[in-house]
Symmetry: C2
Subunit: 175 residues, 2 copies
């Protein structure tokens, strides 16, 4: 592929359906297969024995999970907010470093929606990134300005969900 | 997780948007991280230097790609049909073997929609599979009977696509 055909894309996986983080992980898998330099920064999620974190550790993929596992029942919003800002600092460093070809910002939309991170600053960071760097952003309720800015946006629409029938989250599938 | 909580799910990623195969690859990544036994059978696609095939080779993941790279310009439909049936035979063998915890049937919807594989037989094979086996099916236009049968269905809806602006498919992202 000629250098001129290479363009860094901003890709957003949003919507209420399942498959947003999973699709970002698929990009990681594909890119790892090509020996591309990939980094993942996870917002919100607490680190834990997720299948994807185990895989990243085994493969030596640059992976950062900074979050308190925020839910609406979270007791310390100020702490969650500080963790989101800390994760964003890591993301900015990774982006500015020029060391990566693909960076995943998993669940970035939540701190944007909650107002914990300034959208303007995020958009400016994306705008000023290295030209060939792809960014994958996941999470529900992607702000309209982010959608306007992105190159590729897919909405994951929930057609049918097993938890409606009381089936629990399954290892390897959901986490 | 107690044995009773483990239930094999049939998951369908459909719709016109990007991210269907990519999400299936994300499940492969996650499951591989958990040392689960995963097999992938790709319909339609021709084998080639895809990032995902490179990754699977490197990781020793059971991966079968049988297809002529079918397009609407395909010159030999009978051959494409025969390849789809061959891929389905591999899929049936993998399912019946009891050797896997997750099996991806990538782009299975196309031979179903084209009438190359009997939907009844596919549904019966899914119904009679080992109880804890998860099946992930991808492709546009999933037949309604398949949606009715599945446990989890996400429609990938195209909100914005860079090829609308003439940007070419990017390695690591699209293939």
């Amino acid at each position: 592929m000629s250098p001129r055909s290479r363009i860094g894309l901003v890709i957003v996986y949003t919507g209420l359906g399942k498959g947003k983080t999973t699709a970002a992980l698929g990009v990681v898998f594909r890119a790892w297969g090509r020996d591309m330099r990939v980094a993942v920064v996870q917002f919100i999620k607490s680190s834990g024995a997720y299948g994807e974190i185990r895989a990243a550790n085994k493969l030596g993929i640059d992976w950062t999970t900074i979050g308190g596992g925020f839910t609406w029942l979270s007791k310390d919003i100020e702490k969650d907010k500080a963790l989101a800002r800390q994760a964003w600092q890591v993301a900015k460093d990774r982006i500015a470093s020029g060391q990566y070809e693909i960076i995943v910002l998993d669940e970035l939309t939540y701190p944007l929606v909650y107002g914990w991170l300034p959208l303007d600053e995020v958009l400016e960071t994306l705008r000023n990134r290295p030209q060939e760097l792809h960014i994958i952003i996941t999470g529900r309720d992607a702000p309209q300005e982010l959608i306007d800015f992105a190159d590729l946006v897919t909405e994951m629409r929930e057609v049918k969900h097993p938890y409606q029938r009381g089936i629990k989250a399954q290892p390897g599938i959901d986490f």
